[in-house]
Structure formats: structure tokens, C-alpha cells
């Protein structure tokens, strides 16, 4: 994990000084993060980086992981699907078992923080301890909460409303709740393998390995192979632009090989590209962060033509690398792109093709958009801003007014 000082050349000394100041204001308070997995998945990834950085700025932060058996995680997977709108039956026994596991974990936790920061639904019922401990509780929802099924939502609501605050990643995820709700958007880490600077030599070697030509424009979409990412739509866009601008298309992403739908999408994409050697489809194994980084940096334009999206952090990753981005106005993408200021938002294949042609043929305009985009990400979507928002959230639990003089 990098030292916090390594972020100074990126965000400036002032930003880091402010984090130390906010950290001081939490002196004497223990911040306890709780989730359900120590490795794998986005939440563990965030906490792995966030908790050590919080400690470096003087915050007494810790991280506990609840335990559960296969049955428990099968139930929470059902929760996850139901929260994404899937019509799935969850029995009373399953709800009961979920609560029993939460209560057993509550008994096993030896000490509690002054602030308990619970991530996602798996440990949500730990909040039953609040009455006894008399501390502050915040619940962080990392998942798309746009279309939850009413059954699971009603069950979770009875626990969410026991918290002092709930945190969502996008405005559309907020629900009618009787507690304050806060918007904290995700972030990217500029020092991670996926985002750190790469040498031209490294980028060239990746291009060579993948059979891409540096001398012709590369249009890229990084996403798993999923109908909701509309890779077939991207191929249509490319084909309509290719008539006017000679370019290469890269569709690259990972996915689980045991996901039958993902494999089907991948096959369809390969079939659709078989007659065009300039369409490159890469099914990337896990730990391909540097390859993704190099592909983004080598691209002339990056697309994210998703039909639905959670937050869509691939957009932030591309903008951070100073690339012009054309993306669908779905999920958290409009928070990352102000149309025609820091990128292009589109609503159709035709619109995407129109703007792609424009950006490929007018590098001056593309470069202005990408410069604005990088600056926007620097100011609003780096991990340092994310840490600051968490510090403000923890502090907000101790104040009631709209203006707080620290």
C-alpha cells in the first residue's frame, strides 16, 4: 500500500494537509469498518486501500469481517439479486437464518468502534447492537439500488432505518428512508496498477503483444462481456464510423468462465467481428490491470456504451488517462461527464457514431474534452476525495446543523 505522501505530487500538499486536519478532528474515536469478505470484490478492494490510508492520517480505523457459512452466502446472493430487481423467492426461514448469523457475529465481535461503518447488506443486522452500545452507525450501500424488489427492500428497511446515516453511490440509488442519506461516489486510485503512469515502452509492448497498430487510431471499450454493456452496439458504431475514418476497435474485458451468458455474449461478439481484422476482442484473465491500463492509454477514443450501469468507474479511469470518452447517460456516468464539457453523453447508437466520427476527425476538440475530463476526475473522483468524504461522514454523525465550524 502506498504512503499517503505519494499522492502529494498528484493532488497537491494542501489536499493531504486537509485530510490530516480532518483526521485530527476524529481523534479519540475508533472507526470500525465491517463487511463480509476480506479479499475479492469491490468492497474488499476499497477497504484494503482505504483503511491503511486512514491510519496514516491518524484515524483509529479498523476492519472486521463477519463469518458465514455457505448457506448464509447463498441467502445473501439471493438478497443481491433481489436488490437488482430479480424476482426471486426468499423464505421466512432464510430471513431467519440470515439474522441468526448476524447475531452470532455480533456476539463474536469483541470490541465496538465509536463509529461502526457497515458495508452492504450482509452484516446489516449488526445494528441491533446499537441500543446496547450507544455509538454511531452508518450503512454504506455499494450496490445498484435502483430497482429493488419490495420484499427484500422492506426487510432491509427495518434495519437501515436503525442507522444514523445511509450512504449511496448515486442519487438514483437513494430510497424513501427516515434517516439522513448521503451521496459518496466511488473513486479510482491513481497509484494502482490499473491507473498509474506507464512508460511508452510498456504501452508499446502491450500493443505489440496484442497485435494492435500504434499508427492508426484505436477505439476501445473496456467492459465484461455482458448484454448490458452492449458490445454488439459498439461494433455497429465502429462499422458505421469505419466507412469514413480508418481505425481499430478493441473490445476487452474479463468475466467468469462459469458465467454461461458471458461466454455466449463473447461468442456473439467474436462471430460479429470475424470478417474484420481491425476488430480485436480480448477476453482478459484476472490480474490484467496493466494490460487494461496500457490499452486505455493507447486509445484515441474510449467508449462506454452501456445500456445499464452501476457507477461505471471505467469512465473515470479513461478520463484520468486524458482520453476523450463517449458514454451512455446511464447510472453514475452523468456524474463523471458533463456533456460537451468533459466528455460526450449519448442516448443512441447513431449519436455515439456521430460523436465518435467527430472526435476522431477533430483531435483539437477531443483534446479539450479530455483535458477537462482529467481535471474533473482529479478534483472529484480520486481516492483522496473519497477518504475526505468518509471523514466528513464520520464527523457529520456528531453534528446536526447544515453549517459546521470545525
Amino acid at each position: 500500500m502506498p504512503k499517503i505522501s505519494r499522492y502529494i505530487p498528484i493532488v497537491g500538499q494542501g489536499v493531504i494537509d486537509e485530510l490530516y486536519f480532518l483526521g485530527e478532528k476524529l481523534e479519540g474515536r475508533k472507526i470500525q469498518n465491517i463487511n463480509s469478505t476480506a479479499v475479492g470484490g469491490g468492497v474488499a478492494e476499497i477497504l484494503t486501500r482505504m483503511v491503511p490510508l486512514l491510519k496514516q492520517i491518524g484515524v483509529n480505523a479498523c476492519w472486521d469481517v463477519i463469518r458465514g457459512d455457505e448457506k448464509f452466502f447463498t441467502i445473501t446472493k439471493k438478497f443481491h439479486n433481489a436488490l437488482h430487481g430479480v424476482d426471486i423467492k426468499i423464505s421466512d426461514d432464510e430471513y431467519q437464518y440470515f439474522l441468526e448469523v448476524n447475531r452470532q457475529n455480533a456476539r463474536d465481535i469483541e470490541s465496538w468502534g465509536d463509529v461502526v461503518f457497515v458495508h452492504d447488506p450482509q452484516p446489516i443486522a449488526l445494528v441491533e447492537m446499537k441500543q446496547r452500545i450507544k455509538n454511531k452507525w452508518a450503512w454504506r450501500c455499494h450496490i445498484d439500488f435502483t430497482h429493488p424488489r419490495s420484499g427484500i427492500m422492506n426487510f432491509l428497511r427495518s434495519y437501515i432505518e436503525q442507522y444514523d446515516s445511509a450512504v449511496f453511490s448515486a442519487p438514483a440509488f437513494s430510497r424513501d428512508l427516515r434517516i439522513p442519506q448521503v451521496l459518496i461516489t466511488p473513486s479510482i486510485d491513481p497509484l494502482s496498477d490499473k491507473n498509474r503512469n506507464l512508460s511508452a515502452k510498456k504501452i508499446d509492448s502491450v500493443l505489440e503483444k496484442l497485435g494492435l497498430e500504434k499508427s492508426r487510431p484505436i477505439v476501445t471499450q473496456i467492459s465484461r462481456f455482458d448484454y448490458l454493456k452492449d458490445p454488439m452496439g459498439v461494433i455497429k458504431v465502429y462499422k458505421s464510423v469505419k466507412k469514413y475514418v480508418d481505425c481499430q476497435l478493441v473490445l476487452a474485458g474479463g468475466g467468469a468462465t462459469d458465467d454461461p451468458e458471458g461466454m455466449q455474449v463473447l461468442q456473439e461478439v467474436k462471430d460479429a467481428s470475424v470478417d474484420d481484422p481491425d476488430i480485436h476482442v480480448f477476453f482478459l484473465p484476472p490480474a490484467s490491470d496493466i494490460t487494461i491500463n496500457a490499452l486505455q492509454r493507447a486509445s484515441s477514443v474510449i467508449l462506454q456504451k452501456s445500456l445499464r450501469e452501476g457507477f461505471g468507474l471505467t469512465v473515470a479511469e479513461a478520463l484520468w488517462k486524458g482520453k476523450p470518452v463517449i458514454a451512455s447517460a446511464v447510472g453514475g456516468i452523468p456524474l463523471q461527464i458533463a456533456h460537451k464539457y468533459s466528455g460526450i453523453l449519448t442516448y443512441s447508437l447513431e449519436g455515439t457514431a456521430y460523436y465518435l466520427k467527430q472526435l476522431l476527425q477533430d483531435p483539437g476538440y477531443a483534446s479539450k474534452l479530455s483535458a477537462n475530463g482529467r481535471e474533473h476526475i482529479k478534483n472529484n473522483f480520486l481516492i483522496t476525495r473519497h477518504i475526505r468524504d468518509y471523514l466528513l461522514l464520520f464527523l457529520s454523525l456528531y453534528y446536526r446543523d447544515d453549517v459546521v465550524d470545525l
Binding site: N372, E375, H376, N379, L392
Partner: protein, 214 residues
């Protein structure tokens, strides 16, 4: 004895109000009931988040009316509102209400957007923090203004006047207190809504430096 100028800075924690609008009538209903901090948030968010852009995007209401509902005339009326001339958020709220009511009298509220594009009302909690920087005279003030964060500049220009309802921005008030009336007036005259924050910083530095010997 002139008091030194203590530079402060500020941060926002964004609150989700779960009030949404899909057409001008719902936007009007929302504007009428949200807290003043929400009006502040939606008319100032772009300034901070996109402070490097020129021209800067307009306020959130104007952006949504123009780009989502495609109501260009109404969007332009919202974008063209002279924010700096309003004393506080309640006055600004009243101006928005009048624009919308007048518009709906003539045009109704027939245009609607899809669920995914609804306007979400938000507000913010403002945290005010001290900085280590203190200016005792205009020369020190200029030296410090070169290096403070844009959040600090933002706090003393926008937040002080519009959110905390002070009569003028903090810089003008301090120059007035020390008898630098011309500097105070020139800084007060800048319309900070039509310039980037870096542009604003440079303009204030220029004014203060030019008038240093007055």
C-alpha cells in the same frame, strides 16, 4: 487596529433528499419545499466541480431543463439568472419559482423525462475549516492568495455571501475595514459566476496588487 485576515476553507458532504422531478411542475414543487441549502447546492455545485472550465456549465436546474427536457428557452432563463445580485437563497428561490410559474402559465408542463433522467434534489452540509494562512496586509494577502486552495477562495467569495448571508464577500469586507475602499469595491464588483475560479483568483490578485499603494 485592523484584524488580520484568517483564511478558511470548506468542504461539502452531499445529502440526498429523495425528492425528484420529471417535468417543470415537479421541479417547481421541489424548489418550493427543499431546504435553502439545496438551492445553494444546485446553483453552486458546478462552480466547484467544474471550476477549471470556461465557459462554465450553468446551474443544475438550467442544465437539466436544457439537456434533459430540451426546454431551451426555460433553460436559458434559469442559466441567465443574475445569481450575484441576490441577497440570499430565499430570494433566489423566489426568482426561480417566478420563472417557472410564468413559464407554466404560458406553456403548461407537458414535457416529461424517463425515470432514469429525473432531477434529484440534493443539499449539502458545509464544514468550515481553518487554514494556517493569515494575512496582515495586502502584500501578505496577495502572497497567500497565490497558494490557498480553490476551496478557500470559494468559501470566502461564494459561501460567505450566499450561504452564510454576509453582506459582501469576505475579501471586500476586510479591505473595506482597513480603509482600502477602492480595492473593496473592485473586488465586490466582480461577477464570480462567469469566470473560472483560477481566473477569479488571478483577477483578485491583480486588483489588490494594482491598488497596493492606494
Amino acid at each position: 487596529m485592523i484584524q488580520p485576515f484568517y483564511f478558511k476553507t470548506r468542504f461539502h458532504l452531499v445529502r440526498l433528499l429523495t425528492i425528484k422531478a420529471k417535468n417543470p411542475a415537479e421541479l417547481l414543487a421541489g424548489i418550493k419545499i427543499v431546504p435553502a441549502s439545496s438551492i445553494y447546492y444546485h446553483t453552486h455545485r458546478f462552480l466547484r466541480q467544474h471550476h477549471y472550465l470556461s465557459p462554465e456549465p450553468p446551474n443544475d436546474f438550467a442544465f437539466w431543463l436544457t439537456n434533459i427536457l430540451n426546454l431551451r428557452e426555460l433553460g436559458e432563463l434559469f442559466a441567465g439568472i443574475d445569481t450575484v445580485s441576490y441577497r440570499n437563497m430565499e430570494n433566489l428561490r423566489a426568482a426561480f419559482i417566478k420563472i417557472l410559474e410564468d413559464y407554466m402559465t404560458d406553456h403548461g408542463s407537458n414535457v416529461e423525462c424517463a425515470e432514469a433522467y429525473k432531477f434529484h434534489f440534493m443539499s449539502c452540509i458545509t464544514f468550515v475549516l481553518p487554514t494556517p494562512y493569515v494575512a496582515n496586509d495586502p502584500k501578505e494577502f496577495v502572497a497567500i492568495l497565490h497558494k490557498v486552495s480553490i476551496d478557500s477562495l470559494y468559501f470566502h467569495i461564494f459561501e460567505a455571501k450566499m450561504r452564510l448571508e454576509r453582506d459582501e464577500n469576505d475579501f471586500s469586507a476586510w479591505f473595506k475595514d482597513m480603509g482600502k475602499v477602492k480595492t473593496a469595491a473592485e473586488v465586490a464588483r466582480i461577477d464570480p459566476y462567469t469566470i473560472t475560479l483560477e481566473g477569479l483568483r488571478n483577477k483578485i490578485i491583480h486588483i489588490v496588487s494594482r491598488n497596493a499603494e492606494d
